[in-house]
């Protein structure tokens, strides 16, 4: 009775006081370090005559993960800096044509003066706006138009830094051209802006340029070695050498402090790139990485500790209805159910209401993404479930694109026969309805034999026989090229997870990206994630990890590791991540076997939750999305820019932070004080942290109690 009442109150407060509660919960954030407080569309920046440039190879050029970072951040950056911000990158026609609206900068704007000045030097420059949220200003440089100066640029680089670049490395040569063009532009812009400011009696212009990754880093090197007085920030999203070392199955983290970095880079033929990266790292005024773990990597491989950690955020879309994401989960789950019915036809002896969907997804890097320990732990989970909860089934999806020879016949056939059965039954159903109606119209209630004719029964029986199968449901949906050497299939064979009737863990390896045109699923990746119960990402090497972050904002709990940037971030900012549906496997301080056991036990813990507990957990997970929003995380980018500005212009005072009377700029832990019970509460249910806020605390308590976390 008591419990019911409480739960009623929970629902109630969820609906009515949600907005209010959110405010209270994040009140600290809102007053302290939320980027939203600086959203003035560049008003203050323009009064301060402060200009920001952000440079990356991926600006309006969809070639890698950093594209997502830059693109999703564009909105908050323009909200903050408006026309005082400009993104720069290479002009790649096929991308720019769809992503960029070409516009000239307005007359009298120093941005335009500098563009014209560079054009007169023979460079082709495209200016305009990026067609993404926020619509930021864009300058794209045509690399071909600067190619004739490559030798001169390389000589300058050689002369000033003693770094040479091989003729054959086209990518590096392109990066050199772009870098020097950008440096020339910024140099020129600084001159134009100074002249303009003098003419109009403005303050001295203050310019900060933020460079991402080594390709753009060339521009930073050029700028600094030409002694241009511009504040610089350099961000690595993962070190070059780290990527190479991890691709080679080295015991990376245990040897991180022991690598002879020059030699390792030299052996892998990336010495020149590594030198560019490391030089940019050391030349920048402020150096940042995307996570603690990458910071640790940079400290040892690039020999500089990051000044600030700038985690990657997401552009979180808020639904107007509060529990919309729960409804979306239910709808998407139904679509996955549909797939499972087809895939496991003839073996549908398990209850879909007691089935959990786990998934892992990403680039197909077997070891780095932790697919190895995932499969191993699934085998153990299988054993545990058989013993403890034989009515629960876990279907594990592995979404890793690799080379295939299209779908395999068996998985397509399953969907066909299930559809046939459904169509037949629909027909029979209509027939019954018609007969029932006609008969009732005559005032006669039909008996069962009259409703279901013999003909119908025969049809149904035929369909059911078609559903029988001798084979077991396939572990993969596609014919994989060279399947004998495929690491995932190898691991599945070794663990004997063959989808037998007795197995409580079923495997589905889907070696292709999910699209809505996919004949098996017919849903895209986002919808698929929404429909799953748990994302499992036990990565070994994962500088940031967008996949678990995406799960979180959709309200889907996930398992990650303390070697992934995301895991580190969550561990640092939430005192008890587990209670928020973020399970963090330790892959750093304990042995491999222990990590596997821990992962298996986390999955088992999750499988023990009942439906209601899972709903509450999803609610709690979804609440973290504010933490991952660029509106919150953008503050770190702001901090790094301010720090760089202060390094170059010692008299620079961050006025906007004075305005709001904020003294703690190094606000690094928006969640340092736990909104969830701190560890002491594991033993004693203590009064709420929010003291006066009774309702909220009851609510939190209830939730946690219901989750079985006390």
């Amino acid at each position: 009775m008591f419990r019911r009442q409480l739960s009623f109150r929970l629902e109630d407060s969820d609906h009515d006081a949600y907005g209010l509660r959110m405010n209270r919960r994040y009140s600290r954030v809102e007053s302290g370090g939320d980027l939203k407080d600086y959203f003035d569309r560049g008003d203050i920046a323009s009064r301060e005559n402060r200009w920001t440039f952000e440079i990356a190879w991926e600006v309006a050029n969809k070639v890698g993960g950093i594209y997502t970072v830059i693109r999703s951040k564009a909105y908050v950056s323009t909200e903050e800096m408006g026309e005082q911000l400009c993104l720069m990158g290479p002009y790649k026609e096929h991308c720019a044509r769809t992503e960029m609206e070409e516009i000239e900068f307005p007359r009298g704007n120093p941005l335009l003066d500098a563009v014209n000045s560079l054009r007169s030097r023979g460079y082709k420059i495209h200016t305009g706006r990026w067609l993404v949220d926020g619509n930021p200003q864009l300058i794209l440089f045509d690399i071909g138009s600067g190619a004739w100066k490559l030798d001169q640029f390389k000589s300058e680089l050689w002369d000033k830094c003693h770094i040479g670049v091989p003729h054959l490395d086209v990518e590096s040569n392109d990066a050199i051209i772009l870098g020097f063009m950008i440096a020339e532009y910024l140099e020129e812009f600084r001159r134009c802006a100074s002249e303009y400011s003098q003419a109009n009696d403005l303050q001295v212009p203050r310019i900060v340029a933020h460079f991402h990754e080594w390709q753009a880093g060339v521009g930073l090197i050029a700028l600094r070695t030409r002694h241009v007085e511009i504040a610089t920030v350099f961000t690595t999203h993962a070190t070059l050498l780290g990527r190479y070392l991890c691709a080679g199955n080295t015991d990376f983290y245990n040897n991180l402090d022991k690598f002879a970095v020059d030699e390792e880079a030299g052996k892998r033929q990336i010495y020149h790139r590594y030198c560019l990266e490391r030089a940019a790292t050391h030349l920048s005024h402020v150096f940042t990485t995307v996570s603690e773990i990458t910071g640790y990597e940079a400290e040892h491989l690039l020999k500089r500790k990051p000044d600030i950690i700038t985690p990657n955020g997401l552009n979180v879309k808020k639904f107007s209805a509060i529990h919309e994401f729960q409804n979306l989960h239910a709808m998407a789950k139904e679509k996955i159910n549909e797939f499972v019915r087809g895939h496991f036809y003839g073996h549908m002896d398990f209850d879909l209401d007691k089935t959990l969907y786990f998934f892992i997804a990403g680039r197909y890097e077997f070891g780095n993404k932790g697919a190895d320990i995932f499969i191993e732990s699934l085998a153990r989970l299988n054993a545990m479930l058989k013993q403890e909860k034989p009515d629960t089934t876990v279907v594990a999806f592995l979404i890793f694109p690799t080379k295939t020879n299209n779908f395999n016949v068996d998985s397509l056939r399953g969907h066909a026969v299930v559809k046939q059965l459904r169509d037949t039954i629909n027909g029979v159903q209509q027939g019954i309805g018609k007969r029932l109606f006609d008969s009732c119209l005559k005032g006669h209630i039909p008996g069962p034999d009259e409703l279901l004719t013999k003909d119908d029964l025969v049809k149904i029986k035929r369909c059911m026989y078609a559903l029988q199968r001798d084979s077991m449901p396939p572990v993969t949906t596609h014919n994989i090229v060279d399947d004998w050497n495929d690491p995932v299939l190898g691991a599945i064979r070794r663990c004997q997870l063959f989808n037998t009737v007795h197995d409580r863990v079923k495997m589905v390896f889907h070696p292709e990206f999910l699209t809505s045109t996919n004949p098996l699923f017919g849903i895209d990746y986002e919808e698929f994630v929404r429909g799953c119960h748990l994302g499992v990402f036990p990565s070994y090497y994962e500088p940031w990890g967008y996949t678990p972050a995406e799960c979180t904002v959709m309200g889907i709990p996930s398992i990650t590791t303390n070697l992934s940037g995301f895991g580190c971030f969550m561990e640092e900012h939430i005192s008890d991540p587990k209670s928020y549906g973020i399970y963090i496997v330790d892959r750093r301080y304990i042995g491999l076997e222990n990590s596997i056991q821990q992962l298996a036990s986390y999955m088992m813990d999750f499988s023990r939750l009942n439906r209601r507990q899972r709903i509450i957990q999803r609610n709690r997970t979804e609440r973290l999305s504010d933490l991952l929003d660029w509106r919150t995380l953008g503050i770190y980018y702001r901090q790094s820019r301010v720090k760089a500005l202060q390094a170059v212009y010692p008299d620079y005072v961050d006025e906007s932070s004075l305005y709001s009377s904020r003294s703690n700029l190094n606000f690094s832990r928006p969640f340092s004080e736990p909104p969830s019970p701190s560890s002491s509460r594991h033993t004693t249910p203590a009064p709420s942290v929010h003291g006066s806020d009774e309702e909220d605390s009851v609510d939190e308590e209830t939730e946690l109690k219901e989750l079985g976390i006390k």
Partner: protein, 355 residues
């Protein structure tokens, strides 16, 4: 005058250094035959002058200029153009028989007996002995043969994209037909250690007739100390240390004095070196250029002078050297101007046909 000739090919001033040393090594070995060199437009005028001093014939080859049908056909396949520069040797019909030598070869002993061989004689390639190496071969100039090979090439291409693949396809029966056409390996010994049977190299080194610096590392790219006149040889060439030193000795006895600053590439830089004197800015500029050249061909001494510590030292120097007090004097700016000079000529690109 002899109707026989040694023929080589050079595509830029840097490779011409090799051609000059090769010519002197042939003269040293006392050949009685003529010397001919094919040059492409990439070779500067002043370098051609110097080549004329040692070669009886300096013949420009330029597919763009010629009018015959085979060449016109070639124009449609520009990627094959560079491959075919070497084939132009068949058009030297003023000679009865020729021996082709790559410009990165060095003749150690008189080899005039090669002219007793027939077309097409060559030595096996170390990494696939059923193919010949096209760095040294005996042939008989003939416009007909030339046309046939070009026609063959247009039809079949080259399996390795270079002239060696093409010639091996065209003279496909070389390995099996006539043992006399198979030159002893001593006429084309590859100097690179990983291709080399070291005990055999030691055993037969005095019998080597022609040494071939196949691969990326050329003697002119190796570091040479102008003060002590000693070349510092990379470890994978250490077995051939004295032979590389011999290359440099010939270079400085006969070639170096002939170079001038009008030449492009390494030749121009080397011309400024003074021998046996204390280090000068020119020497440093040259070493500078050599180091950059090594980087650009992917050979970085990352464990030694190119370590990141040294790079950072240089960067720190640059940072300290503010532009305000940089008044364009002193050694560093001299070095800069030399480098700019060199770059314009694209002196360092490695032509595909060099084996």
């Amino acid at each position: 005058m002899s109707k026989f000739a040694w023929v080589t090919l050079t595509t830029n001033d840097t490779y011409s250094l090799g051609a000059l040393v090769l010519a002197h090594s042939l003269r040293r070995a006392g050949t009685v035959h003529q010397l001919a060199v094919l040059v492409t437009p990439g070779v500067s005028e002043s370098m051609r002058e110097k080549l004329k001093d040692v070669y009886n014939v300096v013949q420009e080859v330029n597919i763009m200029d010629s009018q015959d049908a085979a060449n016109l056909a070639l124009l449609s396949r520009p990627e094959l153009g560079i491959t075919f520069t070497k084939l132009h040797c068949w058009r030297l019909v003023q000679f009865e028989k020729c021996v082709f030598l790559d410009s990165d070869t060095l003749v150690l002993q008189n080899c005039d007996e090669l002219f007793e061989r027939e077309e097409f004689s060559a030595a096996p390639d170390v990494s696939w002995p059923d193919c010949f190496n096209s760095g040294v071969f005996v042939f008989q100039p003939s416009q007909t043969t030339y046309d046939k090979i070009v026609e063959f090439a247009l039809k079949n291409g080259s399996f390795d994209g270079g002239d060696q693949g093409l010639l091996n396809q065209y003279f496909a029966d070389w390995a099996t037909s006539d043992i006399k056409k198979r030159l002893p390996f001593l006429y084309n010994v590859t100097a690179y250690a990983s291709y080399c049977y070291l005990p055999a190299f030691k055993q037969f080194r005095d019998k080597i007739k022609i040494l071939h610096f196949a691969g990326k590392m050329k003697p002119w790219l190796m570091h040479y100390n102008s003060q002590s006149k000693v070349a510092s040889v990379p470890s994978d060439y250490s077995h051939a240390n004295d032979l590389i030193q011999m290359w440099w000795n010939i270079f400085f006895d006969h070639v170096h004095a002939q170079l001038n600053t009008n030449m492009a590439g390494l030749a121009g830089a080397l011309s400024q070196l003074r021998l046996g004197e204390p280090r000068t800015p020119e020497q440093e500029a040259y070493e500078h250029l050599m180091r950059r050249q090594c980087w650009e061909s992917g050979q970085v001494d990352y464990m030694g002078r190119d370590s990141f510590d040294n790079i950072w030292k240089r960067i720190t120097q640059t940072l300290e050297n503010k532009p305000a007090d940089d008044d364009k004097t002193g050694g560093s700016s001299a070095a800069t101007s030399t480098i700019h000079n060199v770059n314009n000529a694209h002196g360092f690109s490695t032509p595909a046909h060099m084996h």
